[in-house]
């Protein structure tokens, strides 16, 4: 399977649309159903046909199952369906990778259906909805405040850009998990962070929720898990990388150490990532995204103000109705700047003291806990896939992990174990599930047998999971 077809086409986006069947029930009004369609320059007739076909499939499958239709497999495409809110459907269609083959002197296209996994693209689609919801609120919420036209505008506004950022070809098990990387930290430092956040929220009452991150790792979230999950995704895949790039290019003219208030130099490293780029230019408020969270009540609108010192980031969700005056930024800066800077260097020191990981281990793993969304991977050099080619195992191994995951998810057992070996025999993949935790190990040992692999994984579990209840 591997290596034979180097010129395989990548998975690509064929189309993506959002519709509501209730919007144009009568013939001739089908256009009304379509709320968003990508690519936008598609002929209306095709749009209507595509939506109609999906509607038909959905309706048809309903007669067989209580569960709505999830995916449709075709030779050249794969279509996934998602009904995020009542009567609203989202559909994503991707192409199946293909390669040119020759048989009996005749060239033909071979389609690699196995390269596309339903679970992964289902996750990609759901994520698309959640990201929309994070920035725009739920469909229902938009309709409560406005018209279907508003909803269309918002969908267009959001997805026309969001779809550009999708890296369908790199989607894998991590998209299925959509987990959070937590920062391991000692209790006392953690308590200090806690106290700083409590103080922040007590001092600035407009700050409703706070999250604290160090680099791309989460330390504390005052938001509910589900809100945090997608905000984390946004922060680590979009906001932070963009900010870092800007920083690297020296795009930010303002540095806090060069005197913010005009008073005696209060040197600290704090800066607003969203919000005013400089505290000396009171007319420039910068860009502060508005997001919708569901922690306190559904679709609560907040300003997402992000402040960073060294590697520590504080995300403050500020009441949406609050018109932030410029002085607010100033007092936040003088409150957070020094304390966050010192905390960040404390954490940094703790990290520096840790022994660097020893030479390349024989195995690589992915770990995920459904209960707290904690995720860990040594397969991905960079868990947020900012850079291409950061995956250190062949794509078919990644797919194998995805398949085992899909199998385990379908199984009703809480505990599960699967051991698989690739056709070439270079790799072993072991998938384990204990209670709500999943663990995949990839071992590159050509001559090992099943018993040896089993022993290897057992050892691994005892050394890595001594602190948790993980049955092996």
């Amino acid at each position: 399977m591997t290596g034979k077809s180097p010129e395989k086409t990548p998975v690509s986006l064929v189309n993506f649309f959002v519709f509501n069947s209730e919007y144009g029930p009568r013939e001739g009004e089908e256009e009304k159903k379509i709320l968003y369609y990508y690519p936008p320059n598609t002929e209306l007739d095709k749009k209507i046909k595509d939506v109609g076909l999906c509607e038909a499939i959905i309706k048809f499958t309903e007669t067989f199952s209580d569960n709505p239709c999830e995916a449709m497999h075709a030779q050249k495409t794969r279509q996934v369906f998602h009904q995020p809110e009542k009567d609203f459907w989202m559909v994503l269609t991707v192409s199946i990778p293909s390669s040119e083959k020759e048989k009996d002197g005749q060239s033909y296209m071979e389609f690699h259906e196995d390269d596309v996994q339903d679970s992964v693209f289902d996750a990609v689609l759901k994520q698309a909805y959640r990201m929309f919801k994070l920035f725009m609120g739920s469909f229902q919420h938009i309709l409560e405040k406005g018209t279907a036209q508003n909803l269309k505008q918002r969908l267009d506004h959001f997805f026309s850009r969001y779809l550009q950022t999708l890296k369908l070809n790199q989607s894998d098990i991590l998209d299925v998990y959509c987990g959070i990387h937590f920062l391991p930290l000692d209790k006392n430092t953690y308590l200090k962070i806690q106290c700083l956040i409590n103080l922040l929220e007590a001092t600035f009452l407009q700050v409703k929720y706070t999250a604290f991150l160090y680099n791309d790792q989460l330390v504390w979230s005052g938001l509910e898990q589900d809100d945090m999950r997608y905000m984390y995704k946004y922060l680590t895949t979009s906001l932070f990388p963009a900010y870092m790039e800007q920083e690297l290019q020296g795009g930010s003219p303002y540095s806090s150490s060069t005197n913010v208030t005009g008073g005696p130099s209060t040197s600290h490293y704090g800066k607003f990532v969203t919000g005013p780029p400089s505290l000396t230019e009171p007319q420039n408020f910068g860009k502060i995204p508005r997001i919708f969270v569901n922690t306190g009540r559904p679709d609560e609108e907040c300003h997402l103000l992000v402040y960073r010192a060294l590697s520590a980031t504080v995300c403050m969700l500020i009441e949406g109705s609050f018109q932030i005056p410029f002085d607010f930024f100033k007092s936040l800066d003088s409150f957070l700047g020094p304390q966050l800077s010192s905390l960040a260097s404390d954490i940094g020191e703790q990290y520096a003291r840790r022994p660097p990981s020893t030479a390349e281990p024989l195995f690589k793993y992915v770990y995920f806990n459904y209960m707290n969304l904690a995720q860990k991977t040594t397969i991905h050099a960079d868990s947020n896939k900012k850079t291409a080619g950061s995956v250190s195992v062949p794509p078919d191994i990644m797919r194998l992990i995805g398949d085992i995951n899909a199998d385990i998810s379908r199984s009703s057992n809480d505990d599960n174990e699967t051991i698989a070996r690739t056709q070439t025999g270079d790799y072993w993949v072991v998938g384990k599930k204990s209670d709500q935790r999943e663990f995949y190990v990839v071992i590159n040992q050509k001559n090992a047998n099943l018993i040896e692999i089993n022993e290897e994984v057992k050892k691994l579990c005892t050394s890595h999971f001594s602190n948790i209840f993980f049955l092996d």
């Binding site: 930290l185 806690q194 106290c195 409590n198 005052g222 209960m371 707290n372 209670d435 049955l471």
Partner: protein
Amino acid sequence: MAEADSKSAGVHYVQLSKHPIRFEPVSQLTNVFFDETNKQVFAVQSQGAMGVVVKGPDDKTNINFRMEDRGEVISIKFSYDMSVLAIQRSQKSVEFMNFTEHSDRVEYSQSCRGKTTNIIGFHWTALNEIVFVTDHGIEYYQVIPEKKTLKCLKNQSGQVNWFVWSPESAVMLLSSGPLGNIINPFHFKSGQLYKLPKFEVDLPVIPKPPKLVLHERDVTMAQIYGVLYICVLRHHTVAGKLTAEIVLYHLQRENPARRSCVLRLNMSGRFAVNLVDNIIIVHHQASKTSMLFDIKSGGESDGYVTFYDPLVPASPIRPFMIRAPSIPGQPGADGQKHELELYSPNWIVFQPNILIDAKLGYMWYLKLSLEPIVSLIDDKVKLIDFLLRRKDSKMVILKVCKQMMLPDSQASLPVIAQVFDLLNAGYREYLDKEIQAQVVVPSLGSILDHLVPYTGASESTQAMDNLRGRKAIIDQSDMYTHVLSVFGDSKNIHFKFIVATLVEYIRSLNQVFIPVQHYLYELVINTLVHHHCFYQLHQFLQYHVLSDSKPLACLLLSLESVYAPAHQLALDMLKRLNTANEEIIEVLLSKHQLLSALRFIRSVGVVDTVSARKFLEAAKQTGDSMLFYTVYKFFEQRNIRMRQVSKFAPGEHCEPYVKYFEGLFGADALMPSVPS
């Protein structure tokens, strides 16, 4: 200042002891003396012929006797154990009288040396040791009551104007020089006389021609926080205004006493100094108020000397009711209660906390009440810091802390954090000392390097007193019972504040390595659960903010119905505890996770000891016959391994499950009893 005055109006933090010691007032017939060493008042009537009434701090020190009138008594003092009485009737000698039960009470006398020498005064310095202070120096004697003689121990000559004696530290200051400002300190210890470096008290103005300007009344000695200070009252002119200050000289063994603190009085006139609970109380007669100074609270240092303002606005001593003495010719007024004239010119103060009105015949101990001070110190951190150094302040501290939690008087988080840190620093210090005290016999540094005072208490009891009595220790249960309990009682405290406060407290405890008690965790958990902040709780557990324990794990298990992940958290915690395998099995069985349970007992090696019945019952309850089969076969294997037969032992009470198995799968499915 005006504002401060209004604030302290009606507030009385200094008060007189409720039960003063009464004695015969000074009159033509009665002379009254006070002995600072034994704290006894002597009312001598007709030079003793009509009787001497001695009143001391307790019944043992009260005594009445008569003695012959041999002239006017100048001074009279008992030895420490009251076995010898010393009476001074002239400037040349002191008479002694043995006072034990069978003694004949014959007086014997000791004259001072030299014809021109006059005795200024004398003091008992130890059990049978006495020192005469003369205008030519000091004479140190040992009294030998059996022989009715005195033996000279030491002499020290030099010109003396006046002297001050501190029985607590056994230190005597002699004033010399024409201005009186050259101070020679001496320390008395077990028959030895130690001369400490002399020093000069800095005078604001040097009169010409020179005359005595530093007087005995301006100088007192006080042991403050274990350090001996000489307090000198000093009047000087600042910007044309006469004002007074008290300068504290730190008395040292090797070096001349050093000017280390200045208490700014900002008034002038007559002052008197007392010391209560390490607080310097300065009484001002003209304004009829008293000021408090704490040399551990604030102060501005110029690098050498620290300057202090009164801790709180000056306030009068609390009014005191006395019965009027019967006045001849006015029989009706007899026994009538009326208010005592405070700050009367007849008042005399003695160290550390004694106040005497000889005209009225009253002796009081001064007391400090902490409650009124609470309202006068706004800065809670400063207040708690101050209270922590006071005796019997525990309840006051807890009350202040409680106030800080209540909505109307809620303190800010940084203040709460600092207060917690102060409380826990004291708590930690106490724990450390307690550990030390258990390990080695305490060898506490004495009051003044090697200047060990004469006290009845042994060093070790004193050390324990310092530990327990002096400093208030606020531990977790105190906080829980008296302060944090308000969170449960008061409905209108925002839960964010509650959680923030509890986290601050836990942080503070952790910072000084004090293990946090379970009930605090429970409070945090209950608060979070009550407000459905499960995810926050989850994160706390993830970072081990709440330490592992069986009770906590059980609490988590009980939360599973409202928050599913609590189950996983509980299991993880039980696993980490390493002593909770039983509990883990119970949890798994109750969740019908039979296979997990079997794998678990195998992984921890308890297969042979678990109860098969328990597993079979749980398996039966699932209604899953394949699962039951698996579990049954598992234990059949165990039976064979352990007893070479597949049957269960009668004691295991598994018969119903054997039947159930037969019912499901038939008897053939059972393993043959004897393996072939």
